[in-house]
C-alpha cells in the first residue's frame, strides 16, 4: 500500500524528458526494492502458486513413473525401432539444453557487454538454465539401454582392464560439455545469490524469524557485505562470466556435433554449430519470456521487468530467429548444391515426405512468427510476445524432431525406411520434465529472490533523475 502512495505523490518525468528509459519503473527506494523482491520469499504462497505447484508435481511424478517403467521394462516401451534409434528422447534433450542457453548468455555475455537491463532478468534466467539442464540431462541418461551403467561414460579409473572412454565420440564430448556447463552455471548463479541471501537472512533476523535466519545464514555462506566481500564478489563474477561465455557457445556446438559428425544425411552438415547456437539462444530467450511474463504478473514484479526488457529480448529473438531461418535455407541450398543424392533426398523428404507437417510447423513457428517483431507494436505487446514465445518454443521442439526423426527414418537404404510414432511413455517423460522444470522453478520463486537484488540496487541510483528534494528518503 505504501508503494502506491509513493507512486501518487512523486511526479515522474515523462519518458521523453529522460536520456534513456529507466530500467525499472516507478520510483523505488532500496527498502522498497528489498520489500518487493523478498516478498515472495518471506510471505505465504498464494492460491495460484499452490495450484501451479500441485500441477507441476503431478506432472513430474507421472514423468518419473514413466521413467521407472522404462528402466524396469526396457527402452522398447518407447516407439523407437531398428532405423530410428533416437526420437523424443534426444529431441527433448536438445530442446531443454537449448532453453538452458539464455540464462548464461544473459548473465555472462551481457555482463561482459555491460548490458545493465539484464539485471532484472538474469537471476531467473540463470535458474531456468540450471533447471533446464537438469531436465535435459535426464534424457541422455535414461535413453541408455543400461542406465545402471551410465557412469561408464565417465573417464573413471576402473578394474575392467584397460577399458577407457572413447574420446572420438561426440556423446562423450556431450558429457563433458554439459557437466561443465551445468557446474559453471550453478556456481555462477549461486554466487550471484550470496548477497541477496544475506539480505533475506538479515531481514529475517530483524523480523525475529530465527529458523529462517539460521537457514539463510547457512545459504549465504556467512556473507558480511564487507568491502572485501564485495571486491571478491565482483572479481569472481567477472572470472565466471569469462568462463561461461565460451561455454554458451561450446555447449550447443558440441550438442550439434552429435549430429554434424555423423554420416546420416540431414545430420552431416557443417553449418550445425552456429545454427544450433543461434537456435539455442532463440529458444532460450523465448522460454525466458514465457516464464517471465507469467512471473512478473504473479509475483507483482511489473515494475522491475518492464516492456523495455521484453522489447530488448524480442530483438534478440528476431535476430537469432533470422539466423535460424537463414540456416534452414542454407541447408536446402547446400543439399541441392552438394549434388549428393542422399542429402538432397533427405531435405526433400523433410519438406514433402510423411513428416511434412513437422517440418512446416517448424518453419512457421521459427521463421515466420519471430519476423512479426519487426513491428514495434507487436514486440512491445506483452500478450503477443507471450503467444509468439510459445510458438517459438513449439517450433524449436519441432526443429529437433525434424532433424532427428526425419533424417533417420529415411536414410541410405530404402529397405530400412520406416515410420516412427511415440508411445505414452515418451510423451509422459517429456511432460514429466516439464513438471520437474516448473516444480523447481516454483520452488525457486519461493526460496530465492527472483531478481538480483544487490545488482538491481546499483541501477536505481543511476536512473533516479529527479531533483534532490523530490527523491524519497
Amino acid at each position: 500500500m505504501q508503494m502506491h502512495e509513493t507512486h501518487n505523490t512523486i511526479a515522474v518525468p515523462p519518458d521523453g524528458a529522460r536520456l534513456r528509459t529507466p530500467l525499472i519503473k516507478g520510483v523505488k527506494t532500496y527498502t522498497q526494492l528489498s520489500d518487493d523482491i523478498c516478498r515472495p520469499v518471506e510471505g505465504k504462497a498464494n492460491k495460484w502458486w499452490w495450484a501451479a505447484f500441485t500441477l507441476s508435481v503431478i506432472a513430474m511424478t507421472w514423468g518419473f513413473l514413466c521413467i521407472a517403467y522404462e528402466v524396469g521394462t526396457g527402452i522398447g516401451v518407447w516407439g523407437l525401432n531398428k532405423t530410428v534409434g533416437w526420437a523424443w528422447d534426444i529431441t527433448n534433450f536438445v530442446w531443454w539444453i537449448g532453453i538452458g542457453h539464455a540464462g548464461t548468455l544473459i548473465s555472462a555475455i551481457l555482463l561482459l557487454f555491460r548490458q545493465r537491463w539484464r539485471m532484472s532478468i538474469n537471476r531467473s534466467a540463470e535458474a531456468m538454465t540450471i533447471f533446464a539442464v537438469v531436465c535435459a540431462g535426464l534424457f541422455p541418461v535414461f535413453h541408455m539401454g543400461r542406465v545402471w551403467l551410465a557412469y561408464w561414460v565417465l573417464p573413471l579409473g576402473n578394474q575392467f582392464g584397460s577399458l577407457w572412454v572413447n574420446f572420438n565420440s561426440p556423446l562423450l564430448w556431450d558429457v563433458f560439455a554439459i557437466s561443465t556447463y551445468f557446474s559453471v552455471s550453478l556456481v555462477f548463479w549461486y554466487m550471484g545469490l550470496l548477497p541477496d541471501l544475506a539480505t533475506i537472512r538479515d531481514r529475517a533476523g530483524l523480523a525475529g524469524r530465527k529458523t529462517m535466519q539460521y537457514v539463510y545464514s547457512w545459504l549465504s555462506f556467512g556473507w558480511k557485505g564487507s568491502a572485501r566481500d564485495w571486491s571478491r564478489f565482483e572479481e569472481v563474477s567477472l572470472v565466471l562470466a569469462g568462463l561461461s561465455t565460451p561455454l554458451v557457445l561450446s555447449v550447443h556446438t558440441i550438442v550439434s556435433m552429435d549430429f554434424a559428425t555423423s554420416l546420416v544425411p540431414g545430420w552431416h552438415t557443417t553449418i550445425f554449430p552456429p545454427y544450433f547456437v543461434a537456435g539455442a539462444i532463440f529458444s532460450g530467450f523465448a522460454m525466458v519470456l514465457t516464464l517471465m511474463l507469467v512471473a512478473r504478473k504473479v509475483l507483482n514484479l511489473e515494475d522491475y521487468i518492464t516492456v523495455e526488457h521484453v522489447e530488448a529480448m524480442n530483438k534478440i529473438i528476431t535476430l537469432t530467429g533470422s539466423i535460424v531461418g537463414v540456416a534452414y535455407l542454407t541447408e536446402f541450398f547446400i543439399a541441392w548444391y552438394s549434388g549428393v543424392e542422399y542429402e538432397a533426398y533427405a531435405f526433400l523428404n523433410r519438406a514433402t515426405g510423411p513428416y511434412w507437417w513437422a517440418y512446416w510447423s517448424m518453419m512457421t513457428c521459427n521463421v515466420i512468427t519471430p519476423q512479426l517483431f519487426w513491428f514495434r507494436k507487436i514486440r512491445r505487446s506483452l500478450v503477443l510476445t507471450f503467444i509468439i514465445s510459445i510458438f517459438v518454443n513449439i517450433g524449436m521442439w519441432f526443429e529437433r524432431f525434424v532433424i532427428i526423426v526425419t533424417s533417420l527414418h529415411r536414410d541410405y537404404l530404402p529397405s530400412s525406411w520406416v515410420m516412427y510414432s511415440p508411445t505414452f511413455v515418451e510423451v509422459g517423460m517429456f511432460i514429466g520434465t516439464m513438471g520437474l522444470f516448473f516444480t523447481l522453478f516454483l520452488l525457486f520463486c519461493r526460496v530465492f529472490p527472483v531478481i538480483a537484488l544487490a545488482e538491481l540496487k546499483s541501477v536505481i541510483k543511476q536512473i533516479d533523475e529527479r531533483p534532490e528534494n523530490e527523491r524519497p528518503h
Binding site: T73, G74, I75, G76, G79, L80, N81, K82, T83, G85, W86, P140, H143, M144, G145, R146, V147, L149, A150, W152, V153, F160, L163, W164, V165, N166, N168, S169, P170, L171, L172, V175, D258, T261, S262, L263, V264, G339, V340, E341, Y342, A344, Y345, L348, N349, T352, L408, R410, D411, Y412, L413, P414, S415, S416, W417, V418, M419
Partner: protein, 1023 residues
C-alpha cells in the same frame, strides 16, 4: 566283525552320563545363560563396540547374501562319455525327410544337444544346401508342444497299455475283415516302406495311401500315361540353357527346390564364363522363382494350361510336327517368343509346370519331348521319390470313410484335418472310423481327433533311411536320446505286427538284404561308412531308353480346352511360403518370424492382389476381406503385391493352425479347404469371391515396408549383353567432387588405415547367385542365438535378424523419365516409391559390412564397438550401455537393439522362455541382455575355432575350411567367406573381379563385405 574304537573309557563303560550326552550335538553345555540373562548383559564381555561390530557384520553379510545372483547348477559328467568333450562340437551326418523336404544334413551337437543343422556337402542331390525349414527343424526338436508320451483318448497313457489296446482292436478289425488304411505322406525311406508292408502282411485288409498336402499326383499320372513310369523325374536345371516355367516355383519349394537352386545357379554365376541360362517364368503370384527370372509374364491360373497348349503348337510348328487345337491366350506373343528361344536351345531346354492336371502335364511332357529334354535336362530313370502322393486315392479314402467302410486308420506324417480339401468331409468321415491312430509328435488338428496318439521320435532322435532319388540313399541317425517317451513310428507298426525288433536293427537287416548287395564291402564296413557320411549312392542302373510319349495329344488338348480350370471374378492360387511351407513346422517361431522372401511379411498369410486390382476394387493394404471359394470362407487381410496377375489373388497355405502350439495357433487363416478338387486331383487354385468386411485395417508385421531403390545404386546391375562387352558394366565407381575434380571415394579420406597383421576376413556376395531364399537368415539365427520377438515387435520394426535379404522392385518412374516428362523432383521421387505393376526384382543380403572405417566405432562413447586386427567390427556386449548412436550412424542399418529382455520374459514366450527351447542355444555365442546393441559378428566364434584348430595342427588356415553360418547355409554358394590377406583365397580373387563393389561406396567406409553386380539375361527389347 568291524573293529570298534572307543571315544574314551566312558564309552567303554557305558557311563550313564556319557550315554545321555552321546546323542546331544552340543555335548558341552552351551553358554546360553551367559549371553541372554540380564546378569550376563550387565557383566557381558561383549561391549557396545563389539555389539555394533557384530550388528554391522550381520547386516552386511545378510545384504551380501541377498545380493547373490541365483545359482544355476550344472552337473558335470560323472563318467565322461568317450565321444563328448565339453566345448567341442560333434558332427553327425543325418537326413531330413519329412515328406515334403529332403536334405542330407550334418547335425552339430554340443554336450549331447543338437544345436545346428547344416547341409552335407557330399550329398549328390542337395550338395550342401539346406532351406530355411530344414535349418529351423532343430528348434522343432525342442518344441514344448511335443507330446511327452502316448495318448489314449486324449489322456496320457503308457506304451504297454496303448499297444495292448491297439493290437486288440486291430485284431478285432482284422477278424471282421474291416478295412485298415495307413495314410502317410510321401515316404522315401525303404525300411519304413518295408515296415509298412510287414504291417499290411499281418493285417491283409490294410492298405497304404500316400497323400501329400501339396500334391504332384498330376505329374506322376502324366508320366505314367506318357512313358509308363508313375514317378516324378529328376531335373537337371544346370544342363538347361533356356528354362521356361509355368508357375513352378522350383527355387522356392517345388519338389526338390534345394537341389534345383544349386543346379539353377551353376549357369548363372558368371565365374570365368560369359554363358548364362535364360529363364522365362509364366506365373500368377510373384514367386521366388519368378523374381529371379530374366523375363516374367503374369498370367491367370486359368490361362496356364492354354498357354502350354499354345507353346506346344508353336514348338510343334517349328519342329514340323502336328499341332493340336488350342485357344487364344493374352500372353500369346510371349509364348511365341519363348517357343523360339526354346527351339533355338533344343536339347538344352527345359519346360516345367506347376499344374496338377494330368492332361496339362502330358502336354508339358510332349513339349519337352519335342525339345529333346529327356536326354539332357530331364531324367526319368533316376527318378525322384520326394513326392509320391496320389490324390485320387485320398479322395476315395474320404468317400470310403464317409460310407463307414473304414474300420481303422493310421496316420503317419500327415495332418489331413488341416490340409485336406473339403476338410469337413474328411472330419466327418474320420469320425466314422472305429480306430484312429496317429503318429504325430503333437496333438495336432488330426491327432486330437484320434483315439490313440503314438508320438513318433523327432527325426533328430531317430534312425531312418531315405531314397530321395532312385539309387541315392541317405541315412539318419539319432543325435540325442529321445527327450520324451516317444517311439519310432516304424517300431510301433512293427510291434503291432508282432515284430519286436528295434528299428535300427530292422533297418540294418533290411539294408543287409537289399542295398548292401550293390557293393562289395563287408556289411559292417559298409554300414559304418554309410552312417559316417550319411550317404550311399548305388551304382547307376543302366539307363533305359526313353520312349517317346505314346499318347493321343489331340485328345489331351481337347480335354484341356473342354475342361477348363476354375474361372471366376477372382482367381485365387494357393502356394507354399518358403518359411512355413505346408505348415507342418508352423509352430517353429524361427519360421514364423522368417520374412517371406517376396512380401517380407512375417507371422501372417494374406490375400495378395495386384495394386491395380486393389485400386479398381476399393481395396487398400490391410483391408480385411472375406474370401469365399469352394464353399469355404475365411477372413484375410489384403496385401498389395506388385507382379500379381490382374484379377488374381494368392494365399499361402500352412497358416491358421489351431492345434500346433503357442507360436502357430491363431496365426493367419487356413485355406487348404479351398483347394479345388477336379477329377479327383487337388488343384492349388480356386474361383473365388471377395467381400469387404468392416474390420479395422490389418497391420502387417513386415520387415521391409519400402520397396523401391529410389534410383540409388544399391543393387548394381547390368544385362548379359552389356556384361559381355564390359565386365565392369553397371559398376561405375563412385566419384566425389573435390577441388581437384572428381575423385574415387577411396582417395578422399582423412582416416588412417587399419593394420591387419595376419588376416582380414570378409565376405563376397554374388547378387547373381543369390536367389533371395533367406536360408541364411535362419542359419544365422540358429548359429547366433538371435531371439524371436513376435508379431507386434516386428510391426514396430524391431526384428533382431542379423542378416536380412533386402528385396527391391523396379519402379516405372526414374529420373530420366521424370526429366523427359518435365516432372518436378518432388513428384518424381514420390512416383519412384511406387513399384511397377510387374516389376523386376532384386535381392540383396545385408549384414554388418564390417567397415574398416566404421561409422559406428567412432561414435560409441564407451568404445563398446571397435575394430579387430583382423578387420572385424566387433561388439563387446558387456561394455555396451545402449545409447544406440552406433545404430543411428550405421548407413546399412544392420545393428539390432535389445529393446526388451528376450529371454525368460513371458511377453516373448518363444523358445528362449523355457528350458526346453533354450537347449537349442549355441553355447559359443553369448545371449544378449536387455539394453545392448548387437549385430553380425561375422561368426567370430567360428573364425576363432578355425584359427585354433589350424594353430594346434601347426599349419596355415586353408581357404574355405570354415565359413560363416550364412555362407555355409547358402544353397547357391552366393556368399563366399574368406581372408583377403590370403592371396590364393577365393575372396581375394573376387575382390579384384570387375563386378565387385562396396555397398554405398561413396561413403568410403571401406566395408569388408563386397557385392558382385547382378547380371540379367534380358533381351534389349525387354525392360
Amino acid at each position: 566283525m568291524e573293529k570298534k574304537y572307543w571315544k574314551g573309557l566312558e564309552e567303554l563303560h557305558s557311563d550313564a552320563e556319557f550315554v545321555k550326552q552321546k546323542n546331544n550335538e552340543f555335548a558341552e553345555a552351551l553358554p546360553l545363560e551367559d549371553v541372554f540373562s540380564s546378569k550376563a548383559t550387565n557383566n557381558s564381555t561383549t561391549d557396545r563396540r563389539d555389539f555394533l561390530k557384530f550388528l554391522g557384520f550381520g547386516v552386511a553379510a545378510a545384504t551380501l547374501a541377498s545380493c547373490e545372483a541365483p545359482v544355476k547348477k550344472t552337473i558335470p559328467y560323472l563318467i565322461k562319455p568317450e565321444e563328448i568333450t565339453p566345448g567341442v562340437a560333434n558332427w553327425y551326418a543325418s537326413t531330413y525327410a519329412d515328406g515334403s523336404d529332403y536334405c542330407s544334413i550334418l547335425v552339430k551337437t554340443r554336450e549331447g544337444r543338437p544345436i545346428k543343422i547344416e547341409g552335407n556337402p557330399n550329398s549328390t542331390i542337395t550338395k550342401g544346401g539346406v532351406n530355411a525349414r530344414v535349418q529351423a527343424s532343430v528348434l522343432s526338436l525342442y518344441d514344448t508342444a511335443r507330446l511327452r508320451g502316448p495318448l489314449a483318448a486324449g489322456k496320457a497313457a503308457k506304451w504297454d497299455d496303448v499297444d495292448q489296446k491297439i493290437v486288440a482292436k486291430l485284431n478285432a478289425v482284422n477278424e471282421n475283415k474291416g478295412n485298415i488304411r495307413i495314410l502317410t505322406a510321401s515316404i522315401t525311406s525303404p525300411s519304413t516302406k518295408k515296415a509298412i508292408s510287414e504291417f499290411t502282411a499281418k493285417y491283409p485288409s490294410a492298405k497304404q495311401i500316400t497323400y501329400d498336402a501339396v500334391s504332384y499326383s498330376g505329374m506322376i499320372e502324366a508320366n505314367k500315361n506318357s512313358f509308363g513310369k508313375a514317378v516324378l523325374p529328376s531335373y537337371r536345371f544346370d544342363n538347361a540353357s533356356v528354362i521356361v516355367s509355368f508357375g513352378a516355383d522350383f527355387l522356392g519349394g517345388w519338389i526338390s527346390s534345394v537341389e534345383y537352386s544349386n543346379q539353377y545357379i551353376q549357369t548363372r554365376k558368371l565365374r570365368g564364363t560369359t554363358k548364362m541360362s535364360r529363364h522365362i517364368q509364366f506365373e500368377t503370384a510373384l514367386s521366388l522363382t519368378g523374381s529371379n527370372a530374366d523375363k516374367r509374364v503374369a498370367i491367370k491360373p486359368s490361362e496356364q494350361a492354354l498357354a502350354i497348349l499354345n507353346l506346344y503348337n508353336q514348338i510343334a510348328t517349328l519342329a514340323g510336327s502336328a499341332t493340336v487345337s488350342d485357344k487364344a491366350v493374352p500372353c500369346a506373343k510371349d509364348i511365341k517368343a519363348a517357343a523360339q528361344e526354346l527351339w533355338a536351345a533344343k536339347g538344352k531346354a527345359l519346360v516345367v509346370s506347376s499344374s496338377n492336371d494330368t492332361n496339362t502335364q502330358m502336354m508339358v511332357n510332349a513339349i519337352n519331348n519335342l525339345l529333346g529334354s529327356y536326354s539332357s535336362t530331364i531324367d526319368l530313370d533316376n527318378h525322384c521319390n520326394i513326392k509320391q502322393g496320389n490324390d485320387a486315392a485320398m479322395v476315395e479314402l474320404m468317400e470310403e470313410m464317409n460310407k463307414g467302410e473304414v474300420a481303422a486308420v493310421i496316420l503317419y506324417g500327415v495332418n489331413p484335418a488341416l490340409t485336406s480339401p473339403k476338410v469337413d468331409d474328411f472330419k466327418k468321415g474320420l469320425a466314422k472310423v472305429g480306430l484312429k491312430i496317429s503318429f504325430a509328435d503333437r496333438a495336432d488338428e488330426t491327432a486330437s481327433l484320434c483315439d490313440f496318439v503314438c508320438p513318433d521320435h523327432n527325426y533328430l532322435e531317430a534312425w531312418n533311411d531315405a531314397e530321395p532319388k532312385k539309387g541315392n540313399y541317405s541315412l539318419a541317425q539319432p543325435t540325442i536320446s529321445p527327450l520324451f517317451s516317444t517311439r519310432a513310428a516304424q517300431e510301433s507298426l512293427l510291434s503291432w505286427s508282432g515284430n519286436k525288433m528295434d528299428y535300427m536293427t530292422y533297418m540294418q537287416e533290411n539294408w543287409k538284404g537289399t542295398i548292401a548287395t550293390t557293393q562289395s564291402l563287408t556289411f559292417d564296413a559298409f554300414w559304418t561308412n554309410s552312417i559316417q557320411s550319411g550317404l550311399y549312392t548305388a551304382p547307376n542302373a543302366p539307363a533305359t531308353a526313353t520312349t517317346a510319349p505314346t499318347v493321343d495329344l489331340a485328345a489331351t488338348a481337347s480335354a484341356i480346352i473342354s475342361n477348363p480350370a476354375p474361372k471366376g471374378d477372382l482367381e485365387v492360387v494357393f502356394y507354399e511360403k518358403s518359411g512355413i511351407g505346408n505348415g507342418a513346422q508352423a509352430n517353429n517361431p524361427w519360421l514364423q518370424e522368417f520374412p517371406d522372401p517376396i512380401s517380407k511379411v512375417t507371422w501372417d498369410n494374406y490375400l495378395a492382389v495386384s495394386p491395380k486390382y486393389a485400386g479398381d476394387n476399393g481395396l487398400v493394404a490391410g483391408t480385411v476381406v472375406n474370401l469365399e471359394a469352394n464353399g469355404q470362407s475365411v477372413k484375410l487381410p489384403v496385401l498389395l503385391q506388385p507382379g500379381q496377375a490382374y484379377g488374381t489373388a494368392s494365399v499361402a497355405i500352412g497358416y491358421g493352425r489351431t492345434h500346433a502350439g503357442k507360436a502357430a495357433n491363431g496365426v493367419g487363416a487356413n485355406v487348404y479347404p479351398m483347394i479345388s478338387v477336379v477329377n479327383k486331383a487337388f488343384h492349388m487354385m480356386a474361383a473365388a469371391k471377395i467381400t469387404k468386411t468392416n474390420d479395422a485395417l490389418h497391420e502387417f508385421a513386415a520387415t521391409q515396408t519400402h520397396h523401391t531403390m529410389m534410383g540409388r545404386a544399391i543393387v548394381k546391375e547390368t544385362t548379359l549383353a552389356e556384361y559381355i562387352k564390359n565386365p565392369a558394366a553397371g559398376n561405375a565407381p563412385e566419384l566425389i567432387q573435390t577441388n581437384f575434380g572428381k575423385r574415387p571415394s577411396e582417395e578422399v579420406t582423412l582416416w588412417n588405415e587399419h593394420e591387419n597383421p595376419k588376416h582380414r576376413w570378409g565376405m563376397a556376395i554374388d547378387l547373381n547367385a543369390c536367389i533371395g531364399c533367406g536360408g541364411c537368415v535362419v542359419g544365422c539365427q540358429a548359429e547366433n542365438n538371435v531371439p524371436v520377438v513376435g508379431k507386434d515387435e516386428v510391426r514396430r520394426s524391431r526384428e533382431m535378424h542379423w542378416i536380412r535379404i533386402d528385396r527391391y522392385y523396379t519402379s516405372d518412374m526414374n529420373e530420366e523419365r521424370g526429366h523427359e516428362e518435365h516432372k518436378g523432383t518432388k513428384d518424381v521421387m514420390h512416383e519412384m516409391e511406387v513399384p511397377s505393376e510387374n516389376p523386376q526384382v532384386v535381392f540383396q543380403p545385408v549384414m554388418c559390412q564390417h567397415c574398416n572405417h566404421a561409422p559406428c566405432e567412432t561414435v560409441c562413447p564407451v568404445a563398446a564397438t571397435n575394430h579387430s586386427s583382423e578387420g572385424l567390427n566387433q561388439m563387446a556386449y558387456n561394455r555396451c550401455i545402449g545409447t544406440r548412436y552406433c545404430a543411428n550412424n550405421c548407413p546399412y542399418k544392420v545393428r539390432r537393439f535389445n529393446w526388451f529382455s528376450y529371454t525368460d520374459n513371458n511377453k516373448f514366450d518363444f523358445n528362449m522362455n523355457d528350458d526346453l527351447g533354450k537347449m537349442v542355444l549355441n553355447p559359443d555365442v553369448v545371449v544378449r541382455s536387455r539394453g545392448v546393441m548387437e549385430k553380425c559378428s561375422m561368426c567370430v566364434q567360428r573364425i576363432q575355432e578355425g584359427k585354433l584348430k589350424a594353430k594346434k595342427e601347426n599349419r596355415n588356415i586353408v581357404d574355405g575350411e570354415f565359413k560363416t553360418a550364412c555362407a555355409q547355409s547358402c544353397p547357391t554358394n552366393a556368399i563366399v567367406f574368406g581372408d583377403y590377406q590370403n592371396p590364393d583365397s577365393e575372396i581375394a580373387k573376387l575382390e579384384k573381379d570387375q563386378r565387385a563393389y562396396h555397398l554405398l561406396g561413396e561413403l568410403n567406409v571401406q566395408p569388408n563385405i563386397i557385392y558382385l553386380t547382378k547380371v540379367r539375361n534380358t533381351m534389349s527389347n525387354e525392360a
